[in-house]
Amino acid sequence: MNKSLHPSLFWIGWLVWFLAAPWLLLLLPDSIPLVTWTAQEDVLFVTWAFLILWAMLFWVWPFVLRFAGSVRMLARIGRGFRNAPRRLLNAMRNNPLFFVTWAVLLVGWQVVSIVAPEGTLEHPLVPGWDYVFGDTLYRMSGDWLLNNIEILFLEVRFEELAPYPGLGGDRTWPAVFLALSFHSFMTLSRLLVGLAIGLAVGIATGLAIPYWPVLRQTAWAPMNFLRMIPLLAAIPWLQFGLGANFRGAVAFIAFGVWVTLVVATMNSVANVPDRFIESARTLGASRPYTYFKVIVPGSMPELRTALLLSAGLGWSLTIAAEFLGFPTGLGHMASIAVQETNTARLVIVAFVVACYSLLTFYMLNQMFNKLVSWMPQRAAGTTDISKVAGAAGAARAGIVQEA
């Protein structure tokens, strides 16, 4: 059963399951002690129990359909936790400078925060870590604003989850969590949808254009010019035209990713070695056959950098667009920080964004590795600088000894 299920069906099914699970939960009676939501007419009052059950149901899908794989994954995670202290210790022993550097940076920041002048502003210009992850993080509960959303015919209300400090309620740690989750969700949904559309359409266009040489030669100049136009500077203009909404943000991010990828894909198609194409042609392959079986796969390895670059651009566009005109999202949180000249808040947002973007890059890289599993591992003959530098030193030492 596991083998027969096509991977894409599995992933699409998981998404559908994720969206359908809350409806399933609604079918349960609301009298059982754990699930204490109240659904009146078309209004659903969401509780923590509801969210937790939803999260648990989310994991049921892979666990049922890929039982063996899930168990293996769990075992691996367990082993990872068990080995973590030992690996950390080993890492510290092998590469102490890594830890020393970070420790010095973190402690140095704290020292600067004490030494630096207070300034006349409400918040310190260089906030200490206690200030960042204590007071400032706690105050972020004020960003928990989501009262209700309407999905199709259903209205979902969140007011039972935590009080809204923005409306005069108390500040609470759950609200901090909810605020960060909500704004992250907004940012990630904009980014990922835009990125997905941009990647798909960009690679498709980039592969299609060079198929017709006339089209390729015609498209070369305008596409390269479009790529050089600083899209970040166009955000104020696009915001006015497209509006500060999901559709506008997605269209904008997708456009930026598209431009980057079309040019990169056209270049990588051009860089497929001629010998592969000529070999295919002399083996009797027609033009379309050569294109799909030789040029398309042959152009893939070069796309890695372009993928990562476009993901980076996507992130910058998302955060910048939110910064300049959206009422939600991590970029918006950063813009509040600038308005308040609150560096501490900015540190938190930057940290969260850095974590997410690291994750996006990692996942893109993994996906890409699967796509080009046929590729030879990094060709031999490259220099390990440290070794060579060491070798040069050793050679000199040898000469000195002999002398």
Partner: protein
Amino acid sequence: MSRVVTFENLWCVFEHRSGQLVNALQDVNFDVQSGEFVCVVGRSGHGKTTLLRVLAGLQPPTAGQVRLGDDVVTGPGADRAMVFQQDTVFPWLHVRENVEFGLRAMKAPDSERKEITNHWLEAVGLTDFADSWPRELSGGMRKRVALASAMAVGSDVILMDEPFGSLDYFTRRNLHDVLLDLWEESKKTIFFVTHDIEEALILADRVILLAEGKLVDDIPVTLPRPRDEDIRAGAESVQITKVILQHLGITEEEATKV
């Protein structure tokens, strides 16, 4: 034996980077009989590869034409499969998929495709590696894959452009045997470009000599096969070597000095 390939008044002129025109081929005329093993020999840069690429249809001639039977060559096709000097095994296809590439392109029926592929994989001794990635094979093995791929498309004429040039001596000798076996079994016409006179003497029925893009000599090699060390050290063989060296501008004395 019937005539399969004809070169008629073939000219090929290239533009050098500096803007100068260079004659890669100058008025080449000759024809080849079916089942012949022809070696094209010459110094590098004297038109050997161009000749082969024109025949393959990868390079249009500036003047003149190449005919295959009665048809003028206008582009590449499966009737003239080519083995290249560089590594052209597709790294994104398994070995088996590489060998059946041409057959798939021609939409051969599944059963026939499998049969032919297995046959040629066995002929080059790679049955056990059918499901490997090319990156897992050595250079010599990848050349065998390229050879099998070219053989499998079923063309009567096979073009080889210094295919074994980058291999070490022992692998090369080994592949010569494989190639000669395949040739004797299939009786295909083979064009083999090389700068190695010894290689030409091991393989060829006939040596075409090119110098500065001109055909300078056409030498039949009638040595008996298999051509072991004794035969290649014999008087006839040495005589052919001398002729070739003279034509290439290396006199015997010069040759020994080098």
